[in-house]
């Protein structure tokens, strides 16, 4: 018995003549870690932008827990339980690490003391508690990535979209982050992750989709998807 948390139907996004996404359909099940792979420019970030409301889709519909969310404001979508991180990190530079996370926590905890408490929790769960009072601009790349995640989980999401969190990290840093992602999933947060590394996706995600030039190449179990000849040709072939 599977239960759908995210349902994407015929999603399209056009920038002038460029079809960044077209006819994309897939379903994410509650509780899973779902993978999205595809070459550079395939439309993965554009997909996240549409899901989170940063961009208005040109066609199609997006359902979160059976509720239609396409066309809503990003802050409303966040409130409904969908959070995302940014591939290019976007810390609030003029604030501390704790302040950054408090902004996210305030959404469900309007009182400052509560927000601070929950922000601390979020930082602790991602192993950043000791950095709470540092200025956000002084973090390393790996720490900025974790700050992105800390902020996202401080919004208390049911569904978390992670956009290339592992790119540019050392093997140790990446392994630690993967463990933390699994731990978050263990706490009941459904995760959709975009990643270039095929080994990481095949290890972490039972099911995946592959995007290429804005269209869906394959959907299914990660094993099957990676074996698909079209995927081999379009993605693995060119990457190898």
């Amino acid at each position: 018995m599977t239960d759908t948390i995210l349902e994407v139907t015929d999603l399209g996004k056009f920038f002038g003549g460029l079809r960044a996404l077209s006819g994309v359909c897939f379903t994410v099940w509650r509780g899973e870690i779902f993978g999205i792979i595809g070459p550079n420019g395939a439309g993965k970030t554009t997909l996240f932008n549409c899901l989170s409301g940063a961009l208005k889709p040109s066609t199609g519909r997006i359902g979160l827990d059976g509720r239609r969310i396409d066309g809503l404001h990003p802050h409303d979508i966040c409130r409904l339980g969908l959070a995302r991180t940014f591939q290019i990190v976007r810390p609030f530079q003029g604030m501390t690490v704790l302040g950054n996370v408090m902004v996210a926590a305030y959404g469900r905890h309007p009182a400052t003391a509560d927000a601070e408490h929950h922000a601390h929790e979020a930082l602790r769960s991602i192993g950043m508690a000791h950095l709470a009072h540092l200025d956000a601009e002084r973090l390393s790349v790996a720490e900025m990535r974790r700050l992105e995640i800390a902020r996202a989980i401080a919004t208390e999401p049911r569904l978390l979209l992670l956009d290339e969190m592992l790119a540019g990290l050392t093997a140790t840093e990446a392994a630690a982050l993967c463990d933390q992602i699994v731990a978050l999933n263990g706490r009941g947060i459904t995760i959709v992750m975009v990643e270039h590394s095929v080994p990481v996706i095949s290890r972490m995600c039972a099911r995946s989709i592959v995007l290429n030039f804005g269209t869906l190449l394959a959907e299914g179990t990660t094993q099957d998807v990676l074996r698909d000849p079209r995927v081999q040709e379009a993605y693995l072939g060119s990457a190898a």
């Binding site: 966040c78 003029g94 959404g107 401080a154």
Partner: protein, 332 residues
């Protein structure tokens, strides 16, 4: 630590300076001017330094305050008790309308600055051409018998006391907002609007709050101006010079620090006054050149403003007043 320390300390300092100036009407006049400009610069900075919205049209709200009080008195004999609240409501509605228009079309940075400038210039030109508002000559408010009701005092110090209250209230309101959810949302919007929205910040609503709060406080300043000087004219209440002064005091004092603009005003206004009197009549204009050179030197030496410099020199100073930001960082 009391979270209102960044409001309490500057208020007490200002009260001490007020007490010192009690003995001399000339000093009291400078105190009044400095405290008034400093306070509305604090209001301006809530928008610019904290929310990243640079307004070059704040004289519009000052002018609304001044003209509602002056015309209410001259035209209908209305006392400040009636006209001050009226001015505040009108300023709030105006800020809401302009804000809705600007934010709806995603104006920010320089474009927002120019849009606000345009609105205030239109008001300046309209008032300058309107006979019943005294055109560019301005209007004098008549003396009344009920002096207290009309806030007409022979001496200067009651006005000094009023502006001291205005300063303290502005700082407390400002500190309350800045250290609560509103302030966190403002700074998030200033630093990265896209990320803030993704984390659940309703951008439109919080930018409007910043605009309306700032405009309302500025209109109180304008109302105070009219009641104090019993005279209004477009140049001194609606002109772009006024808006620019708010920017200069804030940058020199410290953008993004609640009390920074007070420092800027407290340094620059007495300095300008000193240069003006020291240079005398024969050197008219030289004082402005000297002032300009000093201003440039300060801006170059202290990129985070006087307040920012103080904070880096003395890191133990209360952190809650905000974090100083560098010139230019506020404009995305």
């Amino acid at each position: 630590m009391n979270r209102f320390l960044p409001a309490i300390v500057p208020s007490l300092l200002a009260a001490a300076i007020f007490a010192v100036c009690l003995g001399d009407p000339y000093f009291m006049e400078i105190f009044i001017h400095t405290a008034l400009m400093g306070t509305i610069s604090v209001a301006w900075n809530l928008m610019a330094g904290f929310t990243g919205l640079i307004s070059l049209g704040h004289s519009l709200f000052f002018g609304i305050g001044a003209y509602v009080v002056a015309y209410g008195h001259i035209g209908f004999g209305l006392p400040p008790l009636v006209t001050w609240p009226l001015a505040v409501v009108l300023a709030a509605v105006m800020a809401l309308a302009i804000g809705l228009l600007c934010f709806r079309y995603g104006l920010r940075g320089y474009f927002f600055a120019i849009a606000t400038l345009a609105f205030s210039e239109v008001a300046f030109l309209l008032v300058s051409a309107t006979p019943w508002l005294g055109r560019s000559d301005g209007m004098m408010m008549p003396s009344e018998d009920e002096t207290l009701l009309y806030l007409q005092f022979l001496e200067k110090w009651p006005y000094g006391l009023m502006v001291l209250g205005f300063l303290a209230i502005t700082l407390f309101v400002g500190q309350h907002l800045v250290s609560s959810r509103t302030g966190f949302y403002w700074r998030a919007l200033r630093d990265n609007e896209g990320a803030a929205e993704a984390l659940g910040v309703p951008a439109m609503r919080y930018k409007l709050i910043a605009f309306v709060v700032s405009a309302v406080l500025t209109s109180v300043g304008g109302a105070f101006f009219a009641s104090t000087f019993a005279f209004v004219d477009p140049r001194s209440t609606l002109g772009v010079d006024l808006s620019i002064q708010l920017l200069v005091f804030s940058i020199i004092g410290g953008l993004g620090l609640l009390w920074g603009p007070l420092l800027g005003a407290a340094l620059l206004i007495p300095l300008g006054e000193l240069l003006r009197t020291a240079m005398g009549v024969g050197f008219n204009g030289v004082n402005i050149v000297v002032y300009a050179v000093l201003l440039m030197t300060l801006a170059l030496l202290l990129p985070q403003g006087l307040g920012g410099w103080l904070k880096t020199r003395f890191p133990a100073m209360p952190r809650l007043g905000g974090k100083p930001i560098r010139q230019g960082d506020a404009v995305q």
